[in-house]
Symmetry: C2
Subunit: 355 residues, 2 copies
DNA sequence: TCAAAAGTGTTATCCTTACACCCATGT
DNA sequence: ACATGGGTGTAAGGATAACACTTTTGA
């Protein structure tokens, strides 16, 4: 390759000693938050901690560098110590340093930075011994994001009514206003962001943009968290001004944003890594697998193509058994072929055709 | 959609008050590290801070939550204040809590957690005023990862000689040994990891696995950082035991791991988002665009197909001008069509055919 | 006239999408 | 018999990969 060139040399304070500025810095604490996902039938669920009336929160614990070598080890350790849940797949999502978590500037105590994790597990009934206390429970994640479920109550796919009735009218009004100085410098104008995120005129609804959608709603002051974080100005704009925003259940601190991050990431990852199987029991029918994928992605997929896709992908193999529990013709049972991890470079379920 | 069910209730310490455990926790400091990438001709370069003889490091600065609302704002602020670099694209990579950064357990002072960022910029010559001091400079990133450049010195693609001469023999030896207790519980056996990461027998070389490859080399004790972090045992195994490992230049602390993360992420992102253009000048020829993509991905692509792919993608438009500087027939100049961001859901350059 | 690099056209192949149809069970 | 869900086959369309070939400059 070439010899190291001496060329542009922007001046950057080198900070050879990482502690150089530590005296002047306020204390910081790192919170590890886990979005622990399981799918129960056709319902994706998330483990939350209840606050007796107050909005629920994701389970979390502080990171103690003296006890745990890495962040992920820390997360696994206290989750597996305090619950009997077996965390299969664990993945770091994002680190949020926002003040959102502690709303006010004059807060005392350490500043909280939260590292969000995604964990996948099997439905509670399968994870025996998971029940130990009463503070935490699994709740459907679409309680927090009703606009993300496009499967409809009946069978056929169906646009959530909430979108046209409540969300889009308010967002269109917001898009008509002048952007704040904060927004101006970076990114697209409001109208365009709205089109991209919510699939207005011509743009398709992209299920992977769950995080961007939540953040847009937050900026527009349409979720409860925005008010809590002191964005009252944004909220006043709402029609009438009396009715508080009710777009989905809210959560503690920035937890709903972490959950939105988890949903986006999981929906994306489904397509290029065999992560669904972390949420499936040992053996399952192809329809059960399809229901799980649909639950997560939030819309129906084409049955026949899904089946072929799965069978061609070599990700499953028949167990030999079958079940009658589904009603109708008995369904073959399959299991995950772990060997694909060693055969294919990047196995996954790239589904695009809607059902 | 459905009513919230009361079902499984794993007991998790609720930690309603985020400060509950703060007294017993050691102080933590958050370092923001930036992998700032630019492409100069056919060479990808990374901005490093020189330590006069010692291994270079990524520029970094501490996060001060009182001054900056978010981590990214903090990063942008000090980079743009201390250098005159214009950071176009900035993206959070990963947060490392490892002790790797401070090698020894008995360290005094705050524990350092590093949040790695990827930033893209234009070549130094373009970023006028970027030159302010002499501590920082751009160096070719393949100095740190020579095994990642498959383009060859001549023209045709070519496997780096280093792989067969030094890396693979040592890795095969490592794969033949018994795994440590740490490794055993999670993941694949050594032999399989080696196949996947380095494309042994039948598996293709996946350029996106740059991070996994570096981590494998670290675990096998074949990079200098492994020795520094106290993995001497691993190092003793090396044949002869006298010659220190020389697989690429090493960096400060965990910085090479962050750079590996940046390379992996950038190589992946190239394929589904129009990020190349953040590193291109206002107008460019298609061949220049191709050279940039090749520089990053580390291998050649098929010229004709690349051109068609780009032109069909509607990501560029002709400026009308042309240049003679390329030698041979004059080349048309193109510019990035920013409108694609609003037209296509996820534009990118999915190239797979090798050149 | 030749080398070098830009730029065009064509074809075989695979993958995706969509549609139509058959099979096995319970009521 | 028929409803229900499981399971299979096949044809059209589009994207990709690989190939050969033409054009325009400088030396």
């Amino acid at each position: 390759m070439a010899a190291t060139p001496m060329r542009a040399t922007p001046s950057i304070s080198t900070c050879g000693d990482p502690m150089s500025a530590s005296d002047s810095l306020p204390p910081i604490e790192i919170g590890l938050s886990a979005a622990i996902v399981a799918v129960e039938g056709d319902r994706p669920e998330i483990l939350v901690v209840d606050f007796a009336g107050a909005p629920p929160g994701l389970p979390f614990g502080p990171f103690d560098p003296l006890r745990h070598r890495t962040l992920e080890i820390g997360l696994r350790a206290w989750v597996e110590a305090q619950t009997a849940l077996t965390l299969g797949y664990v993945e770091q999502l994002y680190t949020f340093g926002d003040r959102g978590r502690h709303a006010r500037r004059d807060d005392r105590g350490p500043h909280e930075v939260s590292v969000g994790y995604l964990a996948l597990t099997r439905p509670p009934a399968e994870a025996q011994g998971a029940v130990r206390g009463t503070e935490a429970l699994f709740v459907p994640w679409y309680d927090f994001f009703p606009w993300e479920d496009w499967r409809g109550e009946d069978g056929r796919g169906q646009r959530p009514a909430l979108l046209d009735e409540a969300i889009l009218p308010d967002l269109r009004a917001w898009a008509g206003e002048k952007p704040t100085s904060h927004e101006a410098f970076r990114g697209l104008p409001r109208r365009e962001r709205l089109r991209l995120c919510f699939g207005e005129d011509g743009m398709p609804w992209d299920e992977e943009r769950a995080l961007e959608r939540y953040e847009l709603l937050y900026e527009a002051g349409l979720v409860e968290e925005a008010a809590r974080d002191g964005r009252d100005a944004a909220l006043k704009r709402r029609a009438g001004g009396s009715a508080p925003p009710t777009l989905g259940r809210s959560m503690q601190a920035d937890n709903r944003r972490i959950l939105a991050t988890a949903i986006s990431r999981l929906r994306a990852k489904l397509k290029y890594r065999p992560v669904v199987f972390e949420m499936m029991p040992e053996s399952f029918t192809l329809t059960e697998l399809q229901r799980t994928v649909e639950a997560i992605s939030g819309h129906h997929v084409h049955k026949q193509n899904f089946r072929r896709l799965v069978e061609n992908s070599a990700m499953v193999e028949p167990t030999g058994g079958s079940t009658l529990k589904t009603g109708g013709r008995p369904a073959q049972l399959f299991r995950f072929r772990r060997e694909v991890l060693q055969e294919r470079p990047a196995p996954g379920l790239r589904l695009s055709g809607r059902g």
